[in-house]
């Protein structure tokens, strides 16, 4: 699938916003729903491909869980780990469904991460 430059730019812009607005963000990766990286800002670049694939699997499993429970689509998956949070949100652009993964340290406020990430996903959906 060819991702249009407009979507690529919107992805970069979403990453800029999240890195700027959220204190304690360690990485933001935007990937296709089948786990291929589109754009990323991350301390350790080796993480990017891995995180894209993991986010893809988790989003798909979340979707199955939502369907099987009659709760509808899965909009996001949050993982609370010992040293922080990982938030994975779907951005359903008409041309392509994307998954935005935000890795935040313990110092980040999860409510703030969720708010800005949802805003960024919405902006990406309407790009």
């Amino acid at each position: 699938m060819n991702i249009t430059p407009k979507i690529n730019l919107a992805a970069e812009s979403a990453i800029d916003t999240l890195m700027r607005e959220i204190k304690g963000v360690k990485a933001v990766v935007i990937s296709t729903e089948d786990g291929l990286e589109l754009a990323a800002r991350v301390e350790n670049t080796a993480q990017v491909a891995r995180l894209s694939a993991i986010a893809s699997s988790l989003a798909a499993l979340g979707a199955v869980a939502g369907e099987e429970s009659d709760l509808g689509d899965c909009d996001n998956v949050t993982i609370e780990a010992t040293h922080g949070h990982i938030l994975m949100l779907q951005a359903r652009h008409p041309e392509v469904t994307l998954i935005m993964s935000v890795v935040a340290g313990k110092e980040a406020i999860i409510g703030q991460v969720l708010y800005f990430a949802k805003q960024a996903a919405l902006a990406l959906q309407h790009a």
């Binding site: 699938m1 060819n2 991702i3 296709t32 729903e33 089948d34 786990g35 291929l36 491909a49 891995r50 894209s52 694939a53 993991i54 893809s56 699997s57 988790l58 989003a59 798909a60 499993l61 979707a63 199955v64 099987e68 392509v96 469904t97």
Partner: protein
């Protein structure tokens, strides 16, 4: 108590893992297919999490069938899904450019599981793509220390999928 076995299907993207499970499952299969954006493979969707189906054999044994994603970037799912599996079916697509190298990927990726359980290699699309032949696959597996049945299979045919599963269970009984 019903005897249950966990069986795993793996192989390249497009080899037929989702199809095989869907062909024999008694329940609506659980699928995690999403739109494929890899332009090097002409396929609309691809599995990114797992496939799941169930099959009860004539002897009452119940098989829980799991399918893995094919691409190596999902190898973390391979390790998760391999836990507790009793046997592995490797599906190979003979129409791909280097199907013997494809086999190597899964023999390596599941080496721990293969060393402790049973394995069957099923080669698809052999009618239109007869080479490499079954002997070439058997030799390749043997060269990697794996002795297992290798046979041609069309996984759209439920009977052939059941045959693969029975062959797998036969090895476990041996």
């Amino acid at each position: 108590m019903t005897v249950e076995h966990k069986i795993l299907f793996t192989g390249t993207m497009g080899a037929g893992k989702t199809t095989a499970i869907g062909a024999v499952s008694e329940i609506p299969p659980v699928s995690t297919d999403v739109r494929n954006s890899d332009t090097s493979v002409a396929k609309a969707t691809t599995t990114v999490g797992l496939d799941y189906g169930e099959l009860t054999l004539d002897n009452g044994e119940k098989l829980r069938l799991y399918g893995t994603p094919g691409q190596m970037r999902f190898d973390f799912m391979w390790r998760i899904l391999a836990r507790g599996a009793l046997g592995l079916v490797i599906l190979v697509d003979n129409s791909r450019p280097d199907p013997l190298a494809d086999l190597d990927v899964y023999l390596d990726g599941f080496s721990e599981l293969i060393a402790t359980t049973a394995c069957v290699v099923a080669v698809g699309r052999m009618e239109a793509h007869p080479q490499p032949d079954i002997d070439a696959y058997a030799r390749r597996a043997e060269a990697r220390g794996v002795l297992c049945p290798v046979l041609p299979a069309n996984v759209t045919d439920p009977q052939q999928v059941v045959q693969l599963l029975e062959l797998l269970l036969l090895q476990l009984e041996a």
